[in-house]
């Protein structure tokens, strides 16, 4: 994929794509800023999905608490760029007489670093765990972080508890406040469009990093762990460090995305970081195509934008059914249906990675339960489910 530069046809596509991406918000703006806002949030989810893809897609570690890192980034920015800390801690107010308004450009690397450290700290106790045990522990960590954020308003008011942190600074790029619309030569660019370009730039950088990672030594080592951890270990890979690195790198993207979210929303509260968010991010990665960048991006765009798009469409539908089907219920119904139907029709995701599709053909006995031979690349399998194994499986009904 990195050799596209030499192919003129591909170059043309890339240029066309770039133009489309630049024009997109202006077209959507005509229909209303809320459409651009949907895309903005979807871009944040793309970043999250790309981050989680490193953990789940590359290293094969099912993480159900990924939203914790999103929360860490968001709260970090919320605390360092809002009046909250100076209002509650006189000592900090004395240190920053003009209020604590750390620049966005300082917070971004900080969020990256802090989230990565948190990611590795949370990853460390889970190294020995497999599959679903890993899933429940990561889920637990996600909840622990959210519960702490919801409750750290006493005895010292650090996070302002359930009330959340409001009045967070917006992002300034070259002196331009992204929270206000910008007028250039009579043409007004809405605030959400300015944010769109910022997010787009960061998403493109993220995609670039992911693409390079995928082909790097580390990326290939992760995939080796995903396919067979024991074999990987036997080949001399330091699986412990590699897994920690996956957790850390994945988390860092989540942290950056969180900081962006806080500045975009100018408000953070623990409600935004519920378990359901984590589950939805996993769904994005799997629905799109585990471990395949274009797939992950597609999945994230689809699942993040779908509920909001349905919000616009469900209203007319409701009118058509004489209001018998509530718009909100209909929206939920369609999301559920979409997840089921897409998965049934494309079990490997909407846009799966090509080599994965080939390596795991379903065997002749098509209706047999997951069996040894066709364990596809994906998340952690019971070690004994390896080809040819007829031994005792990791779990069984065993009173």
């Amino acid at each position: 994929m990195t050799t596209v530069k030499t192919d003129p046809k591909k170059t043309a596509w890339v240029i066309a794509g770039a133009i489309a991406l630049i024009v997109l918000p202006f077209v959507l703006q005509m229909f209303g800023n809320s459409w651009v806002r949907i895309i903005d949030l979807a871009l944040l989810y793309v970043m999250l999905a790309l981050g989680l893809n490193i953990v789940v897609g590359y290293a094969g570690l099912l993480d159900l608490g990924y939203v914790a890192f999103f929360a860490v980034g968001a709260y970090l920015f919320g605390l360092l760029a809002s009046p909250h800390l100076t209002q509650n801690f006189p000592a900090i107010a004395a240190m920053f007489p003009n209020g604590l308004h750390l620049s966005f450009w300082l917070v971004i690397p900080l969020a990256l670093l802090v989230a990565a450290i948190v990611g590795m700290l949370l990853g460390a106790p889970t190294l020995k765990l497999r599959g679903d045990y890993l899933a429940i522990v990561t889920l637990g960590f996600g909840e622990i972080i959210r519960i702490f954020m919801n409750n750290l308003d006493q005895p010292y008011n650090i996070t302002n508890g359930p009330k959340g942190i409001s009045d967070i600074d917006s992002v300034h790029v070259f002196g331009v406040d992204l929270a206000r619309s910008l007028t250039i030569g009579g043409f007004e660019i809405a605030s959400v469009t300015l944010y769109y370009f910022l997010f787009l730039a960061l998403v493109l950088i993220t995609i670039g990093i992911c693409a390079r990672l995928q082909d790097s030594r580390i990326g290939r080592a992760w995939m080796a762990i995903r396919e067979d951890e024991i074999a990987a270990k036997a080949m001399g890979l330091n699986t412990r460090n590699l897994k920690l690195l996956a957790f850390g790198m994945g988390a860092s993207f989540g942290g950056v995305s969180g900081a962006l979210f806080a500045s975009f929303q100018q408000f953070v509260s623990p409600e935004s970081f519920s378990l359901m968010e984590s589950i939805m991010i996993v769904a994005m990665v799997v629905l799109g195509g585990l471990g395949h960048l274009p797939g992950v991006v597609t999945g994230a765009l689809l699942l993040a934008a779908l509920p909001e798009v349905l919000r616009h469409v469900a209203g007319p539908l409701q009118a058509m059914t004489d209001g018998r089907i509530d718009a909100a219920i209909l929206r939920q119904l369609l999301i559920g249906l979409a997840m089921i139907v897409i998965m049934l029709m494309r079990p490997r995701g909407l846009w799966p990675s090509p080599e994965h599709g080939q390596s795991a053909q379903p065997d002749a006995a098509g209706t047999m339960p997951v069996s040894a031979q066709d364990n596809p690349p994906g998340v952690d399998f019971p070690a004994d489910a390896a080809p040819g194994s007829t031994g005792v499986r990791q779990s069984a009904i065993n009173p």
Binding site: G164, S166, S272, A328, I329
Partner: protein, 376 residues
């Protein structure tokens, strides 16, 4: 696909606009409340209140600025989630609604109010009671219900001065709403010399409170303050019975002060110990309260929960300001809205300098014979 959809939506808008220009003008009022998720029942009640106001306005054949007005409600769902709340706010801004009624939860109202303020659309909430909301000094934000300061303080005063309690326990549900009321109660109670013997917490999704109630029981308080919604208060009252604590006074704010409470607690014995506070005068005492409820029940039988009349009033208030300003342009009618003196069905609505309801009355309720009844 998105593009196609949005084009469709755009076309629909154009058609709607064309019809409207003919002889009447469509005025859109946005309404936001959670219509999905655990608080959907309260959100539905709110939306009914707003829809009822809109229907009545349409029946009145109002003309503003020489044009006959066709009122239209734009109902939206925020699922009690701040993220969806802001997305909806942006959508309403784009739809150029003349005013917004909502939201229900303080947690979503606070971030959404920023967006309304930026795009200059007045927002009137009849349900979000967190004091923080009006402290932020946002010009377009109005509240027509007593805030948590008033509720918590009123309950604490009643506990200390009328009931002469000595020891109380405080339970909060760790939401922006519950935490707010509970914290005010605790502060005021301590000021009045009450001893707060136990601080317990739960969540707005919990149903089992046995552990925290047992912990409270070990401290033998005379009263328990619960900051949270009726869906939790009901089971909690049942569990107080189960622990033999039916005689401990049970205080709560407006979130649990509903007609549903007896049903949700299955007429528990401890219901007799409940004292709860609600902003505004009681429906019975409101000039048009009884009448309002009759009309509501005729239209939406069995759906009245709590904030319906406030949302109704909020919608009527916006229409009233537009009538008096003779304009539906927010810029024109905003100053008039600020100086409202509106006889609503919940209270006489006059705003103070922070756009909170001036002299917001609060009413205490109890449940003799398992029906919600205003005290004194």
């Amino acid at each position: 696909m998105q593009l196609k959809l949005s084009m469709l939506a755009g076309a629909a808008l154009l058609v709607a606009g064309g019809v409207a220009q003919a002889q009447e003008q469509v005025v859109k009022i946005g309404h936001v409340a959670p219509l999905s998720g655990p608080q959907a029942h309260l959100g539905k009640d709110n939306q009914n209140g707003a829809q009822m106001a809109i229907d009545e306005l349409n029946a009145q054949n109002i003309t503003i600025g020489g044009k006959k007005i066709k009122w239209q409600l734009v109902p939206e769902d925020d699922a009690a989630d701040p993220k969806q709340g802001t997305a909806v706010a942006q959508k309403l801004c784009d739809a150029k609604v003349a005013g917004v009624v909502g939201h229900l939860n303080s947690g979503t109202t606070i971030p959404a109010s920023k967006i309304y303020d930026q795009c200059g659309i007045p927002m009137v909430t009849g349900a979000a009671t967190n004091p923080e909301l009006t402290k932020l000094g946002r010009k377009h934000v109005f509240r027509i219900i007593a805030n948590d300061e008033a509720l918590g303080a009123g309950l604490a005063k009643y506990a200390a001065e009328t009931l002469k309690l000595k020891k109380v326990a405080v339970v909060d549900d760790r939401t922006a709403y519950g935490q707010g009321v509970a914290a005010v109660f605790k502060r005021e109670a301590q000021k009045l010399g009450l001893q707060v013997v136990s601080d317990q917490f739960t969540t707005d999704k919990a149903t089992d409170f046995m552990a925290i109630l047992t912990a409270i029981k070990s401290k033998a308080p005379d009263g328990i303050m619960y900051g949270g919604m009726d869906a939790q208060a009901g089971p909690m009252l049942r569990q107080l019975d189960q622990l033999g604590m039916s005689n401990v006074k049970f205080f709560s704010g407006d979130g649990s002060c509903t007609n549903e409470l007896p049903k949700l607690s299955a007429n528990a014995k401890s219901l007799a110990s409940v004292v709860c506070a609600e902003g505004g005068a009681s429906l019975a005492k409101m000039p048009k309260g009884e009448d309002w409820l009759k009309r509501y029940n005729a239209k939406y039988p069995g759906q009245y929960k709590l904030y319906g009349p406030y949302v109704y009033d909020a919608t009527m208030l916006l229409a009233d300001a537009m009538k008096r300003a003779n304009s539906v342009d927010p810029k024109v009618y905003m100053p008039v809205l600020e100086k409202s003196d509106f006889a609503g069905s919940t209270a006489k609505i006059v705003f103070d300098e922070r756009h909170d309801l001036k002299d917001a009355p609060i009413t205490l309720y109890n449940y003799p014979g398992n029906t919600k009844t205003p005290m004194n």
